[in-house]
């Protein structure tokens, strides 16, 4: 029996454009899947690379970062600094094995309610197709296997590890 996997997606959105765009999607009653959890920040410039890693560590199957279109940034250039950062960090994550099927970047303006809804629909389907992100689980397995090979003790789990898995048990 094939059952549908419901991915969990964490989105970091700027308050001026994408959060407002999501508000407009609501005002316009565009229906989209309930898989995304929005975390509001003032500007995409505020979004640290660590946020993305921590979201994956916390069990996210996908991460979205979305802000104002270039030229629209409430703070003039926060989104342009963010764009530089994602240019590099996205490549780095791909290089270590987290690809575009789990990590998305977009510009959604306060007027683009439709775009926001479409984005969430597409992203949910994309991450659903990619399946659950069990990378950290596999990683622990590899680590334990390696440790066993070397006759060492497997790496201890931190409390966060346990927390992270609880929800997915």
């Amino acid at each position: 029996m094939s059952e549908r996997f419901e991915p969990r997606i964490v989105a970091f959105v700027c308050t001026w454009c994408t959060y407002a765009g999501a508000d407009l999607a609501g005002t316009s009653r565009y229906v989209y899947p309930p898989n995304v959890r929005l975390i509001r920040v003032p500007c995409t410039g505020r979004v640290d690379a660590s946020f993305i890693l921590k979201a994956f560590e916390s069990g996210a199957d996908g991460v979205l970062v979305s802000g104002c279109h270039p030229g629209d940034c409430h703070y003039t250039s926060g989104n342009l600094h963010a764009r530089r950062r994602w240019n590099v960090f996205r490549e780095l994550l791909r290089f270590v094995g987290i690809g575009d099927d789990r990590l998305a970047f977009s510009w959604v303006s306060a007027a683009e309610g439709r775009k926001f809804a479409d984005l969430v629909c597409d992203l949910t389907e994309r991450v659903r197709a990619a399946g659950p992100f069990d990378g950290y689980g596999r990683m622990s397995y590899i680590a334990e296997a390696l440790a066993a090979e070397c006759g060492q003790q497997g790496p201890a789990e931190s409390p966060d590890d346990r927390d992270g898995r609880e929800g997915r048990a």
């Binding site: 508000d23 509001r40 003032p42 640290d48 916390s58 996210a60 600094h81 997915r168």
Partner: protein, 692 residues
């Protein structure tokens, strides 16, 4: 221990229909450090707010999560309620159950589960919130108005009349703008000069207005209440203090053939010229591009002061010590302002953009603005409508509305708004001057919405014998010494050809060509055409996204004089509201830097969009240089926080702790409804679990 209260709002049916609000409140009661949770029909109503206030007082809440609509809607409401109950307003967070949940999902269980997640994330965040106090910054009681057209003039006068200092900058040598070029104004047919000139003079004489002509804005630093603006004044080569405006110099200038800006190139001027007879300041100016002495000096690579070419204007200047100053040089000043009004106005597209209408090929195809000059009693023909090509009286005039406007193919999809009215006015004025003349207006729709406007266009058609042809002009060609305008009369469904002595194109209104650079300096956004964007199209029509910068007149989009004046008054009022306070309370959402962790690598200084960060000596010993955020300048974007490798900065209101906890809280819920808490798994919920 934090004591958190959660208030779940039904928003009537809006949330309650799709989200099981009592279940959300029940789930919230189980969340760590939540000591109170309730649901209510309308949290934002007075009784709803009172429930919040009572709960804060009775249960000694240290943090509040209101789960209702978007914080963009009611955050101020609930913050104020919290303050009323004695809780710091920044201890309030909102979970958006309406716009982000009930309105966009169609499964009640899913929506309820998501709502619980959203509440959990906000509870996790608010536990890390800190009490913050608004930042108080002093306000410079002085306004800058950019642009000396009617909008800028009106804004400057209104602000100055209310007792505040104003600097009005205008880049051309005189204020007055396009309105000073107009002949008469619709729908009353007042003489434009007659109503404008007194206001221009008032500006010049006003004790609290400093007028700076030939001046442009070079740079802007600072923020609302405290802008620091660099203004650059071009050399005028005429000392405004000394010159009496006698005009002796104008007579002797050997250069005579420079196309005059004021007359839209229909007349010529000298190298030293008075912009127009009623100019303010009413003093000449030398155009170094045309002046023989400047050109000669330029060729030799010396300054005009060192040259001995020509100099006739200086010779005849009757002022002791001479008002002509060939050694004049550009100057820059830095001035401080609390508010800025942008009134840079519009321009019209040149006829050369319309070769299909003969623009640029036939001298008798002109813009509406040029026709204004032909109609004007002070114009190059003293108000007689003559052909540009040969100066013969024009008997047949064709006016083409929507030349470029409402035409995406021409790059201006918008309506220029003023053309229907001024083309009718042109036709009417022409008929007044030339009783046996023939005036034809080609139009797409006659848009005459405005007080007395429709009556005006009717009068043109019914009393003044203007003939209106509904249809587009396809082309204009020459036949003999006349022009022939070909078009289609779409009401009669047939082709028409009209002979004309003059073809007046109501070319599309466009923003000033370099307004984008200005907007970027000011942090004001603009649309794809370059019209400046208001903060909100309905509720904040004269404000911009940059606090303290306001819009007046046609820089925002095409508009007529009464609208521009009304908007200028609105912008002035907004500026006055700001300037009337001594201190400004700013949201304390600002970055601060933990100097113990700072190595002054300079990254934050480089990424800060407003230059709010600078190196300063540390407070610790040994004293060393560390990065320091100027709270007054910081706009709270948080780019420095994310850019810092050692995480020395943090952003109040959106701290690392708050966001970290929010991220972790996303882990605890489940996506599908059933697993969400009440132990009633749905089919979908099971699938979600199994999928993992």
């Amino acid at each position: 221990m934090a004591r958190i209260g959660v208030f779940v709002c039904w928003c009537g049916e809006n949330i309650g229909r799709m989200v099981d609000c009592p279940a959300v409140a029940a789930a919230a009661r189980d969340m760590s450090q939540v000591v109170h949770a309730e649901d209510y029909k309308y949290m934002c109503s007075d009784p709803g707010q009172q429930r919040l206030i009572d709960a804060i007082r009775q249960k000694h809440l240290t943090g509040v999560v209101v789960a209702s609509c978007s914080p963009r809607m009611h955050e101020p409401t609930f913050r104020a309620a919290a303050e009323a109950a004695g809780l710091n307003q920044f201890m309030v967070e909102m979970a958006n159950l309406r716009e982000h949940c009930s309105w966009v999902h169609d499964d009640r269980q899913e929506a309820t589960a998501k709502s619980i997640d959203l509440v959990r994330m906000m509870v996790a965040k608010v536990r890390r919130n800190e009490r913050l106090s608004p930042i108080r910054v002093p306000i410079t009681d002085r306004a800058l108005v950019i642009g000396g057209g009617i909008a800028g003039i009106q804004a400057a006068l209104d602000i100055a009349d209310s007792g505040h200092e104003v600097v009005l900058v205008e880049r051309s040598p005189s204020i007055g703008g396009h309105m000073s070029q107009l002949s008469e104004t619709f729908p009353t047919l007042d003489c434009s000069q007659c109503i404008l000139t007194p206001r221009m003079v008032e500006v010049a004489r006003h004790p609290r207005i400093r007028l700076m002509t030939c001046t442009e804005l070079q740079d802007v630093e600072g923020y609302v209440g405290n802008f620091s603006v660099t203004l650059e004044t071009r050399a005028r080569y005429v000392d405004l203090e000394r010159c009496t405006g006698c005009g002796a110099c104008l007579e002797v200038c050997p250069v005579k053939n420079v196309p005059g800006e004021f007359d839209e190139s229909l007349a010529t001027r000298g190298a030293i010229y008075r912009p127009f007879p009623q100019a303010v300041p009413n003093k000449p100016v030398i155009d170094p591009q045309c002046c023989l002495r400047h050109k000669a000096a330029g060729r030799k690579g010396i300054s005009a002061a060192e040259s001995n070419v020509c100099g006739k204007c200086a010779e005849v200047c009757p002022i002791p010590g001479k008002a002509i100053d060939f050694g004049d040089a550009p100057s820059t000043v830095v001035e401080n302002f609390g508010a800025i009004v942008v009134a840079t106005g519009f321009d019209v597209r040149p006829v050369s953009d319309f070769p299909e209408y003969g623009g640029g090929r036939f001298a008798d195809v002109i813009t509406g603005l040029q026709f204004e000059r032909l109609l004007s009693a002070s114009g190059p023909t003293e108000g007689q409508v003559r052909r540009v090509s040969d100066g013969r009286p024009a008997r047949r005039v064709v006016l083409v509305a929507c030349a470029g406007s409402r035409d995406a193919a021409k790059g201006c999809a918008y309506c220029s708004k003023i053309c229907c009215m001024y083309s009718s006015k042109h036709a009417m004025l022409f008929r007044h001057k030339c009783h046996d003349g023939q005036a034809t207006v080609f139009y797409m729709d006659l848009r005459a919405a405005g007080k007395g406007y429709d009556e005006f266009t009717r009068r043109a058609a019914e009393e003044d014998g203007v003939s209106y042809v509904r249809g587009r002009v396809s082309r204009v060609y020459r036949r003999g010494d006349s022009l022939v305008v070909c078009g289609v009369d779409t009401l009669l469904g047939r082709k028409v050809e009209v002979e004309a002595d003059l073809v007046v194109l109501a070319t599309a209104a466009v923003p000033q060509k370099d307004v984008r650079q200005l907007a970027q300096k000011l942090g004001v956004s603009y649309d794809s055409h370059g019209w400046l964007s208001e903060a909100h199209p309905k509720l904040r029509p004269v404000e911009t996204a940059t606090a303290g910068v306001f819009l007046a007149g046609a820089c925002q989009g095409p508009r007529d004089i009464p609208e521009a004046v009304a908007q200028a008054g609105g912008a002035a009022a907004k500026a006055m509201v700001l300037l009337s306070k001594r201190m400004l309370d700013r949201e304390p959402i600002v970055a601060r830097i933990d100097e113990r962790a700072c190595d002054l690598c300079g990254t934050c200084i480089k990424v800060c969009p407003v230059g709010a960060i600078e190196a300063q000596p540390s407070g610790s010993r040994p004293v060393r240089q560390v990065a320091f955020v100027n709270e007054g300048l910081c706009i709270g974007c948080g780019t420095c926080v994310a850019s810092c490798r050692s995480k020395a900065p943090d952003l109040a209101g959106f701290t690392d702790q708050q966001l970290y906890r929010s991220i972790l809280a996303t882990a605890d819920g489940t996506i599908a409804a059933a697993a969400g808490g009440n132990g009633q798994p749905s089919a979908k919920g099971d699938a979600g679990e199994a999928g993992r």
